[in-house]
């Protein structure tokens, strides 16, 4: 194995690159346990202090370091350089988001959409703490657990062709997180979320391409969440024609 590899890194500074990004090449070491992020840190520390990108935990749980690596959305802390030998490795910001600078993208759109799906427990009446926990069996936990594993890394938005064409689409992670609460035995808020999710840009926007599930580093399966919810929403929407709210 070669002991060095070339990174081709997208560079963009709005003050200087009015015409769009350029690519800059850096040669970095490539030991077998180095991830793409280690390569970027080598550049930042030793070669070029002006390169900007986000990172934090380096163990695939904080969701900061999503980028496009050789065309695919990846967590760069969990993507090994050696897997791309002999190189080069092309590193770009995540697609489908505005680019702020170099490898930093603007994810405010997701942050706003997340809040709209009310990702918190909604109940008609709260149980007092003095009465202890809500009982939830392991099977009930299993029912939503997968969707609670989302780290908000935005790889699914970067991979989603629907979101790429229609930025109003609420998107895979936000829908999966809505489902995470809808399916939680402690929650009674599915009706409130239905109004948001059943809008055009909600679940109906998804054409079930399934790219979101393929790229998810945590096996959340947003595509499955969306399909499952479409069925639920169709039934609930039908019910509204026939039954008053109290009976649902």
């Amino acid at each position: 194995m070669a002991d060095r590899i070339t990174l081709q890194v997208a560079r963009y500074r709005p003050e200087e690159n009015a015409e769009g990004p350029t690519f800059q090449e850096y040669e970095v070491p490539c030991p077998k346990d180095w991830v793409v992020l280690d390569g970027l840190n080598y550049v930042k520390d030793q070669l070029d202090g002006t390169l900007s990108y986000r990172w934090s935990c380096r163990m695939g749980i904080c969701g900061s370091c999503g980028m496009t690596v050789n065309g695919e959305p990846k967590l760069t802390c969990a993507t090994f350089l050696a897997d791309y030998a002999p190189g080069p490795v092309r590193v770009e910001p995540l697609r489908n988001f505005p680019v702020v600078r170099d490898l930093v993208s603007e994810i405010g759109d997701f942050m706003r959409k997340l809040a709209t799906v009310k990702p918190w427990i909604i109940r008609d009446t709260d149980k007092p703490l003095s009465e202890g926990e809500y009982r939830q069996t392991p099977a009930q936990l299993e029912n939503y657990k997968q969707f609670s594993m989302c780290i908000n890394c935005m790889l699914c938005y970067a991979a989603c062709p629907v979101y790429g064409l229609d930025p109003k689409f609420i998107g895979p992670a936000a829908i999966a997180l809505a489902q995470r609460y809808n399916l939680d035995s402690r929650d009674e808020g599915a009706g409130e979320r239905l109004e948001i999710l059943s809008q055009h840009e909600g679940i109906w926007g998804c054409t079930f391409v399934g790219e979101c599930t393929k790229v998810c580093p945590k096996n959340v399966d947003p595509a499955g969440a969306i399909q499952r919810y479409k069925l639920h929403a169709a039934v609930e929407t039908m019910k509204t024609f026939f039954m008053p709210r109290g009976a649902r």
Partner: protein
């Protein structure tokens, strides 16, 4: 375009004419991790009229609470008691804990974890649907609640998502605080850089809570995320608040070599063995009990972290560890647990080992070595999170209340950030309600800081790279302030760090852009870390005893006569420091010997 920016915009739109209105809040939180978000919710629930700013250098759900794995301790079983949790915590901390704080902590921890349950935290369950608990190091009973082995991740996302309910919580996502503004003896706001635009703003507040977490990154080998630079500790220290017990650094006994990724203590709580190169469960040689096939409370692999990390060093000295390119290791053996148990109780351990170590714990041994993990010390606070500086509060790892003493027990830090995050939030809300607007002097200070940040950092050529100074700090800290320390090496470290603090002022900043300038931030973080490192080595040098995680080979015994006391380090106006000692609060548990493996 961003939520955080949009939310704070209305405050600016009120301005008419040329003068921009300074953003202003009742309570401002520096940091949006577990402690910060818990505090934010507590403030909103204490007084719904108060406006709350969460100023965080990362999106809150990226905060390092996300990496906590094993669990959160709180008494819930019938066979357990608050006194037993208190005793484990106090003895675990080698009697440097304040017992009134510990009593409040164990009392309030169960309701805090229950509240998280009501907010939707996916705690692991018993078959009948009740909360499940597991054993943990240094704990005499099963009381560690867990969400598989991603407890911190689930707690943080539950808190963050729940915080979205509160309309008075204004987020400044990806804003980096550079200074606390103090006038008339009280903290009245901060200066912060909006990373995205590069804009430098004064944000005033009637109270400020520092909840920025720890500072593991002052060391080269740490489980801590890159963002853990002791920012809040340094901000408070520079503003005039003392830091407490900074010499106590926790090494977690089981990190993966090279990456320093944590392999949770839950792996041992579920029955894992620590073995040396001969396959021998070496902890039995270090007064930690006798090996049994199943885990035994407060014994062997379930001993406290300080003692286990010290035992590792002794094994290295005996030549009984395994050499690797990344230093000596021992092995964590989970093979006898079986795939089913590993997948259900500690799946993240397997995921991390497969990904980063190319090892499958179902069939192979995991190489591990001690790794810097947690800061027992922090900003000195009382039992309500108040620092001696009016208007300034602190909570979570950034603070020292102190419940952790000389060694924190695993699974106490997550309930700590809830209990004391909530307490600090309530206290700050009450204080803020009685304060006036920020003074003109504070606004002038903000302007000065703005020109410092622009002039010093964006218009000069430096002499050396940031990484060069940082590497030297790392080397100095590892050599002097590691698991075992000596006066001689600490004395040298004090001198070296003094030099590095001069050199950091002359580092090169190639990046002259305002937009997301991470190089300027890295220089500021390094400067924070050097202040924190200086506090660590100075207090470690002066503590001439061995207690908990602070082991001096030149003073190998605990010395209650001289040092049953917290160190408080103050920064003097000339940048030097002064250390004084504060008695430990003892309520019902007089100092005694720490006994494990009985």
């Amino acid at each position: 375009m961003r939520l955080s920016y949009d939310q704070s915009m209305p405050l600016r739109e009120e301005s008419v004419g040329t003068m921009a209105v300074i953003p202003s809040h009742d309570v401002l939180l520096v940091g949006g991790g577990g402690a910060g978000l818990r505090a934010a919710i507590a403030i909103a629930e204490t007084n719904p009229k108060l406006t709350i700013a969460v100023v965080s250098k990362v999106y809150p759900m990226r905060s390092h609470t996300v990496s906590a794995e094993g669990g959160a301790a709180a008494v819930i079983r019938q066979d357990d008691s608050l006194d037993e949790h208190a005793y484990d915590t106090i003895s675990g901390g080698d009697w440097l804990t304040d017992q009134d704080a510990v009593e409040a902590f164990v009392q309030e921890a169960p309701q805090e974890l229950l509240r998280l349950e009501h907010w939707g935290c996916p705690w692991s369950r018993e078959p009948d649907g009740r909360i499940g608990v597991r054993p943990f190091g240094g704990m005499k009973k099963m009381r560690t609640w867990f969400a598989a082995d991603k407890t911190g991740f689930h707690m943080l996302h539950t808190l963050f998502q729940t915080s979205l309910k509160y309309s008075k919580v204004f987020r400044y996502d990806e804003w980096f605080v550079t200074k606390l503004l103090v006038d008339d003896g009280r903290v009245q706001g901060v200066v912060a850089i909006d990373l995205m635009s590069g804009k430098i703003e004064t944000i005033t507040a009637r109270a400020v809570i520092v909840c920025t977490g720890g500072c593991g990154r002052v060391f080269p080998f740490t489980t801590n995320a890159s963002i853990k630079n002791g920012d809040g500790m340094a901000l408070a220290y520079r503003a005039g608040a003392p830091l407490k017990d900074m010499e106590f650094i926790q090494y977690h006994p089981t990190g993966l070599p090279f990456t320093g990724i944590l392999i949770t203590e839950a792996a041992r709580a579920e029955g894992g063995y620590l073995v040396n190169k001969d396959g021998y469960r070496y902890l039995q040689d270090y007064n930690l009990g006798t090996p049994e096939p199943k885990p035994v409370f407060r014994s062997m692999e379930l001993g406290p972290r300080d003692r286990l990390s010290q035992a590792f060093v002794k094994e290295v000295e005996k030549g009984r560890t395994v050499e690797t390119p990344y230093g000596p290791v021992v092995h964590l053996d989970l093979r006898h647990l079986g795939e089913k148990m590993i997948e259900s109780k500690i799946p993240f351990v397997r995921e991390l080992c497969l990904k980063y170590q190319n090892v499958d714990p179902v069939t192979e041994l995991i190489p591990v070595r001690p790794v810097v993990h947690y800061m027992m010390g922090g900003v000195h606070t009382d039992i309500n999170g108040a620092t001696p500086l009016a208007g300034l509060y602190a909570a979570g790892e950034a603070a020292c209340v102190s419940i952790n003493g000389a060694n924190r027990l695993g699974s106490n830090s997550l309930p700590e950030l809830l209990v004391f995050g909530a307490r600090a939030g309530r206290a700050a809300a009450e204080y803020a309600s009685a304060q006036k607007d920020a003074s003109q002097a504070v606004l002038a200070q903000g302007k000065d800081e703005q020109s410092r940040l622009d002039k010093v950092f964006l218009q000069k050529s430096g002499r050396e790279r940031i990484a060069a100074v940082r590497d030297e700090m790392h080397k100095t800290m590892e050599e002097s302030a590691g698991i075992y320390r000596t006066g001689a090496s600490l004395g040298r470290a004090v001198d070296t760090l003094r030099g590095l603090r001069d050199r950091v002022a002359g580092v090169t900043i190639e990046d002259r852009s305002r937009t997301f300038n991470t190089e300027r931030v890295a220089a500021l973080e390094l400067s924070f870390m050097l202040d924190v490192a200086d506090a660590i080595v100075n207090t470690a040098l002066l503590r001439e005893e061995s207690r908990g995680a602070h082991q001096r080979t030149d003073f190998p015994a605990r010395d209650d006569q001289r040092f049953l006391a917290h160190s408080l380090i103050h920064r003097k106006p000339d940048g030097s420091s002064a250390v004084e000692y504060l008695p430990v609060t003892i309520t019902r548990w007089p100092p005694a010997e720490r006994v494990y493996g009985s």
